[in-house]
């Protein structure tokens, strides 16, 4: 380990930190091994043999594809809504000081600060009071609500680093409000928005607690997995899906990290 040069960490601390990180990562790595196991009925370790046949089996399962497609559609639309609402809100909060500014920040953060079950059952009771039937849009309604905060956090952090004098300079040079937005503001916040959008997508793609309350009979991929966890039908297929989900969520997180790493390491701090 490289240290500051001034002093090196005590051995006990190194061991404790390394064990902590292993504790965080080994369980996820285990999923990768189980995706190849030949065992069908139990979670036996070590796997009696390795095979790739379950990938083909999973590929031909229409229920997995349907769940995946619903999840992707929900995540895409929720992300789009969250991008618009989150950007507007962060621009307003960071550009101006106004009465109730703190309240607005709290309002944005609340859906993620309160346990998901509260958001879920609150939405469900609102749907039942208003006689709204469950549909694709009831899922989107819930997801967009808690995705706003991720976009908001990323955009606020970027606005804080973008100096307001650039906007003034653009105006002084004769650009109107829309030109300034298009040519000065947008390029500055684009990567933060991209990162926020990716994290919002990952958050929505993975969300299960709120979704169980707003989906009715529809199955998103996490709901499909939850069903499999409670009443296992074909364990190897679940293993493969779990591995694919890990890989699919890994990419946006890594991308979001590289997009925002210079300076503001705020990307996930509000999840």
């Amino acid at each position: 380990m490289r240290s500051d040069g001034s002093q090196s960490a005590p051995l006990g601390l190194k061991v404790a930190a390394a064990c902590g990180l292993l504790f965080l990562h080994l369980p996820i790595l285990l999923i990768f091994v189980y995706a190849f196991t030949t065992e069908e009925k139990s979670f036996v370790w070590p796997p009696p043999g390795l095979t790739t046949q379950w990938f083909a089996v999973t590929w031909n399962r229409p229920d997995v594809w349907q769940a995946l497609s619903l999840s992707v559609r929900v995540a895409a639309i929720s992300t789009a809504i969250a991008l618009i609402l989150g950007t507007l809100c962060s621009a307003a909060v960071s550009r101006t000081k106004f009465f109730g500014r703190e309240t607005i920040s709290l309002l944005v953060i609340l859906p993620i600060a309160l346990p998901g079950i509260i958001t879920g059952i609150a939405l469900r009771s609102a749907f039942s009071l208003a006689d709204i039937p469950f549909s694709f849009w009831t899922i989107v309604l819930g997801h967009a609500t808690f995705c706003v905060v991720v976009v908001y956090n990323n955009a606020v952090a970027r606005f804080r680093r973008t100096s307001g004098s650039m906007i003034e300079a653009s105006m002084d040079l004769g650009a109107d409000g829309f030109q300034t937005f298009r040519h000065v503001v947008l390029p500055n916040i684009a990567t933060a928005l991209l990162a926020g959008g990716m994290l919002a997508f990952a958050l929505s793609f993975d969300e299960v607690i709120v979704t169980t309350f707003t989906a009715g009979q529809q199955q998103t991929l996490p709901i499909w997995m939850l069903e499999e966890l409670i009443r296992p039908r074909q364990r190897p297929v679940t293993n493969v899906v779990a591995m694919v989900v890990v890989l699919v969520t890994l990419l946006p997180i890594l991308a979001a990290y590289y997009l925002t790493r210079d300076g503001d390491q705020i990307a996930g701090s509000g999840k």
């Binding site: 380990m1 490289r2 240290s3 500051d4 090196s8 601390l13 404790a16 930190a17 902590g20 990180l21 965080l24 369980p27 996820i28 285990l30 139990s42 036996v44 370790w45 070590p46 809504i81 618009i84 989150g86 507007l88 809100c89 307003a92 101006t96 309002l107 944005v108 609340l110 600060a113 309160l114 346990p115 079950i117 509260i118 958001t119 059952i121 609150a122 939405l123 469900r124 009771s125 609102a126 009071l129 609500t145 109107d176 409000g177 607690i209 169980t212 997995m225 966890l229 409670i230 679940t238 989900v245 969520t249 997180i253 890594l254 990290y257 790493r261 990307a267 996930g268 701090s269 999840k271």
Partner: protein
């Protein structure tokens, strides 16, 4: 609004003429009246969150004051406190107590596991290692919640890797002795409170590491050096210097671990005993039992607990560490 008439175009030649048309008018309007722009920017998010979210919360709150007719199973939409009275039945109090105890234990364990990682990342990791630590905490934080639970189902299963490892180390008797204990034990780890506890700690751990690391990064290194120069042992430095300075971060992290444990219903359902937690009680009351008023009253419990918790945390300055 009459804009065109009052425009100072002619008197101030340094300012270009407006570009005209709807776009120009709008652009000028926003420049002259920033409040209009502010209002337009705030309106969509506030409307969305206000109607969808706050509206739903009020709908939920309203439901908790309704009651269920025990004979017909229909919901009686009249104000009553009877549903809140039902919360104080022995079985329901038991659920609340069990959940709060679990949340407290999970929080303490998360602090113990998170502190060394956060301390190392804040004080010793530099450059490439720092990025590695950051990703090492962010990746588990953002990877799929269900997949993480599933991984632990694989690990804790009777035929799984943990039993295999302990058998190789000839330590199986430790596991058997632990599982034969009354409350924490069970048939196997995946159907015991111990299993539930481990998975809770695992899933919420990154939420504790990040704020603790943020708090520790603000502690100047020379404070620690000064403490040892003045003759304090490492233990004394930790107790009297580091820990008090990291406390706001720990409290900030505990808001997440505590609140998330209070509201979760999936982890104890998949890995745990048949005894319920608040989240499961809410879920079964609104689902199979159809008693939405009681479910709503149950959700008010974590809201109230978290309200007090946040109030205390704010007094300790935890929000600055977020």
């Amino acid at each position: 609004m009459s804009l065109d008439a009052a425009m100072p175009r002619a008197t101030a030649p340094a300012i270009l003429p407006g570009s005209g048309g709807l776009r120009g008018t709008l652009s000028d309007l926003f420049w002259r009246r920033p409040k209009v722009l502010l209002l337009l920017m705030l309106l969509p998010p506030v409307l969305w969150l206000g109607i969808v979210y706050i509206g739903s919360l009020f709908a939920l709150l309203a439901q908790s004051f309704f009651s269920i007719d025990e004979f017909s199973g229909l919901i009686n939409r009249q104000f009553t406190l009877k549903t809140y009275g039902d919360l104080f039945q022995a079985a329901n109090l038991d659920i609340i107590l069990r959940t709060v105890t679990m949340a407290a234990l999970v929080t303490l364990a998360s602090v113990a596991v998170a502190f060394p990682i956060a301390y190392y990342a804040a004080r010793y990791a530099r450059g490439r290692w720092k990025a590695l630590f950051y990703l090492g905490i962010m990746l588990p934080l953002w990877s799929s919640y269900l997949v993480k639970i599933y991984a632990w189902k694989l690990i804790l299963a009777k035929e799984g890797i943990l039993t295999w490892l302990l058998a190789k180390l000839h330590l199986l008797w430790v596991l058997d002795a632990w599982l034969s204990l009354p409350v924490v034990g069970g048939n196997s780890l995946s159907v015991s409170f111990t299993g539930t506890f481990i998975v809770f700690v695992y899933v919420w751990l990154p939420f504790m590491i990040l704020p603790v690391q943020a708090a520790l990064e603000r502690v100047p290194g020379n404070l620690v050096e000064a403490s040892s120069d003045l003759g304090a042992s490492p233990g004394q430095t930790f107790r009297n210097v580091l820990f008090p300075l990291a406390l706001p971060g720990i409290v900030a992290g505990s808001i997440f671990t505590f609140s998330l444990t209070l509201g979760d219903y999936i982890i104890p359902q998949i890995i745990g005993t048949s005894r319920l937690f608040i989240g499961q009680a809410v879920y079964s009351q609104q689902g199979t039992a159809g008693n939405i008023p009681l479910a709503a009253a149950f959700t008010v419990v974590p809201i109230v607990i978290m309200g007090f918790y946040l109030w205390g945390a704010k007094r300790m300055g935890a929000f600055d560490a977020l």
